[in-house]
């Protein structure tokens, strides 16, 4: 029945149907959380250059105050999520599998939650598209589905492409996650308005909200609020299939058109934004509120009370878990994001950031991890790969150390969705190997670049030293010439003197 339904709905090639386990948190309304004792705000919560801190230790900041400014065109502003005192600006473990320290602003909230003056309101109905994009940039909004690309950059695409459609991505194909589902159910009006505002910035009139078929309540809520800034907001129910939420795959499911490899969907005239991003845009433009918090799904069997929490940016994962009743047992894996593409973290001290849509504590029973067996060439991974790759071949080449060979058969087109690893009957860690290979290739590339730079620097230094030596030689030559001139003159004078008084030297000679 489910398969039949998926066949009728727009689906994608390949993909898998993991158990969604969304029931754990789907019926918990979005709840606020008390302000935690400390907030940790990494300067880089987005793709691009890290922001530049504007505060120092012991500064007092107000809620919504700009505390770090975007550096360069691809970067994002950061604001204080509440009022309080800055107690440190320095390295702190990143919410990342490596746990490496990254520059972080640590804020101790004062509990007053006092607002700084908000950004002036914009009336989107008569604001210029550029004004809207500038406001979105000012508010520090990034893609909140997890990609964290600065949203404002994606709103200025109309300069370079002829656009016609805005797709709001509410597919939420990752198992467990329910934050977008809840957002649509509870704040559909705000999402629709945000979508309308973004459509105005992009200069398009067609707005489609794509929702997977397993979220009928969200689709119904969205249908009730089907106007965004006067433009109709169309709801499109797509098949429940992983990875439906991948931008290019969603575009294919909704429009039937394929985005070229390593190109933007804008090439087809389509821009995709996440539904949480749309809501953040609504708040920024209508109310002048920068991005200060986000909805996070806290779930997994290891959590006592799975929930959807409106958490301030910088809230430590440990506080979030404690708010949800704590852990019932020692989790096998602690993940940020969904179980398919989420990143394991080493310590619950790391903070929630702009792209964190879920915090999952998975128990041993939930993390299927059987022993790895040799590949039996069953082809299941090939059928599952939504990008049309041959994962077993990629894997064989990577294991043989032939990374260039893997790149030649499409390694760089892999979106790391994990379908292949999920489906493999031999439990081969396919996508894990691809992540390694991509990182390794990038490293080789950067080493090559660095070697060229080294050569350039060394050549520049040699040139400079030669120029200095040349200048010295010239100075020396000048000096010598002067000395010679002086000597000659002295000799001439001496000769003249000798002519004038010839008797004396003769006497001396005697």
């Amino acid at each position: 029945m489910g398969a039949l339904l998926s066949a009728l709905l727009s689906s994608i090639r390949g993909g898998v149907h993991p158990e969604t386990r969304k029931f754990l948190s789907a019926e918990s309304p979005i709840e606020p959380m008390p302000i935690p004792a400390l907030l940790r705000l990494p300067l880089q919560q987005h793709i691009g250059a890290p922001a530049e801190p504007l505060v120092a230790r012991d500064d007092h900041v107000l809620k919504g105050q700009l505390i770090a400014r975007a550096r360069g065109p691809i970067s994002a502003n950061l604001h204080a999520p509440t009022s309080g005192r800055v107690i440190a600006v320095g390295p702190f473990p990143a919410p990342h599998p490596s746990g490496l320290p990254v520059p972080t602003i640590t804020l101790r909230p004062d509990g007053a939650d006092r607002w700084a003056p908000r950004l002036p309101r914009l009336r989107p109905e008569d604001a210029e598209p550029e004004e809207i994009a500038a406001r979105v940039a000012e508010a520090g909004i990034v893609g909140m589905g997890g990609a964290t690309f600065p949203a404002a950059v994606k709103l200025t695409l109309r300069d370079r492409y002829r656009l016609h459609t805005l797709i709001i991505n509410a597919a939420e194909c990752e198992p467990y996650l329910t934050c977008d589902d809840r957002l649509l159910r509870e704040r559909a009006e705000e999402v629709a308005d945000g979508a309308g505002i973004m459509a105005r910035a992009l200069g398009v009139t067609k707005i489609i909200v794509a929702i997977e078929s397993n979220k009928p309540a969200a689709a119904a809520a969205m249908r009730r609020h089907n106007l965004g800034l006067g433009h109709p907001v169309q709801v499109r129910v797509v098949a429940t299939q992983y990875p439906m939420g991948s931008e290019k795959h969603l575009v294919r499911a909704v429009t039937g058109r394929e985005t070229p490899a390593r190109a933007l969907t804008a090439e087809l005239g389509i821009v995709v934004h996440n539904s949480a991003t749309a809501q953040a845009v609504h708040l920024a433009v209508r109310y002048g509120e920068p991005l200060l918090s986000r909805v996070v799904t806290v779930s997994g069997r290891g959590v006592a009370r799975p929930a959807n929490v409106q958490a301030l940016l910088g809230t430590p994962v440990a506080d979030l878990l404690a708010h949800c009743g704590g852990l019932t047992e020692d989790p096998d894996r602690l993940l940020l994001g969904g179980p398919m593409m989420g990143q394991p973290i080493r310590s619950p001290r790391v903070p929630v950031v702009k792209g964190t849509n879920g915090v999952l504590a998975l128990t041993r029973a939930e993390t299927r991890k059987a022993e790895t067996m040799p590949c039996i060439r069953c082809g299941a991974c090939v059928r599952a790969c939504p990008c049309g790759l041959t994962p077993f071949e990629l894997n064989a080449r990577i294991q043989a150390g032939d990374l260039e060979g893997a790149a030649a058969v499409g390694l760089l087109d892999c979106v790391s969705c994990g379908c292949c690893s999920y489906i493999c009957p031999s439990n081969i860690p396919l996508v894990q190997g691809f992540s390694f290979a991509k990182g390794k290739l990038a490293e080789t590339e950067s080493r090559k670049h660095q070697q060229e730079e080294t050569r350039r620097l060394a050549a520049a230094r040699t040139a400079r030293e030669e120029a200095i030596a040349e200048a010295k030689r010239a100075a020396m030559a000048r000096h010598k010439a002067q000395m010679a001139e002086k000597k000659r003159r002295a000799a001439e004078e001496a000769a003249q003197a000798a002519e004038e008084a010839p008797a004396e030297p003769q006497e001396a000679a005697k």
């Binding site: 490596s98 992540s435 990038a442 050569r455 620097l457 060394a458």
Partner: protein
Amino acid sequence: MITAAASMSALGLGLGLLLGAAARKFHVKTPPVVDEMERILPGTNCGQCGYPGCRGAAEAIAEGGAPVTLCPPGGRDVALKLAEIVGVDCSGGPEISGMTDIEPQVAFIFEDHCTGCTKCFKRCPTDAIVGAAKQIHTVIWDACTGCDACVQVCPTEAIVLRSKPRTLQSWYWDKPDQPLAALRTGAA
């Protein structure tokens, strides 16, 4: 005066011609592989290989007197490329596979030991050290090749080489356990 200038220039011209002729007559043609290898080597002339500069090293390899693994800052990548040129079989050659684990190194200056003598600053082949007389010097890691030149000249031993700190941008996952390796350990 005029005679002096004239004789000097005549002398210079004569000697110059002599030198030019000698260069032609005694010209040693370097094999093109030397140029090719010189282009692969870092070009910093740091001298860690024990030859006078990168060109010297390239010549030594071409003559067969030096191993392709001679360049520490170049690391494994350079060794592999050199091996490709000179045709050394590098599939599992012990020297090259032994190089795999060398992490890129960078110099680090202990600030309380730095006297601002500017020796390292003058010696760095890539201008990766910034500083001035009687000021604490520091290293720009992006430009440092870990060539060791500054460590050698520092009079207070304030400089050490450390592995280059990893960042979120340069970090990546380890290679997962291979299926065959997994089986082998299972059998053992």
